[in-house]
Symmetry: C2
Subunit: 99 residues, 2 copies
């Protein structure tokens, strides 16, 4: 049971690309690898300043590399992070791409 | 006829908040003014690095000021801009908020 759930959760994680501070092409490549590996859906997740990079990743991917990829859903939200006892709100974005 | 069309297009522009490089609270206030002026829908538009600020604006507005505001739609896209004969792609975002 627990093995099943673990497998399921690791599978869910597989098609998620977490967007950070690296050059945008790194994330485009990561998403490409996911799609070429058979995923029909890839989720780009970002927060804070990386949000712009997530949108760039989606746009470069579908305009230059995989013309049949569509933006299925874009969700925005907030997360509260605590650094040195200071809480701070940070915006998040989730872009669901599908073939 | 033309007057009508002008009026219509100026009305469409009224509930659009263009997000730029100013502090995020400026845009939160601008959107608040729109909603309080009777708009049931406000569109936040941004491109490039301002995309993060557009998401921040939407989140601050609905978490702190107008709890009944929902994110109706988020659309992403690209625009080609030409500066000094160099074309450059820039990502865009449109966040439709509604009460």
């Amino acid at each position: 049971m627990s093995t099943n759930e673990e497998r399921k959760s690791s599978k869910t994680q597989e098609n998620v690309v977490l967007i950070g501070q690296k050059p945008v092409m790194n994330y485009v490549t990561a998403a490409l690898v996911q799609f070429n590996g058979g995923s029909s859906e890839v989720i780009l997740k970002a927060r804070g300043k990386a949000i712009t990079r997530a949108v760039d990743t989606a746009e470069i991917l579908r305009n230059r590399f995989l013309k049949d990829v569509k933006v299925k859903k874009v969700e925005i939200g907030s997360e509260t992070i605590t650094i040195d006892n200071q809480t701070k709100n940070v915006s998040t974005v989730e872009i669901v791409l599908s073939k």
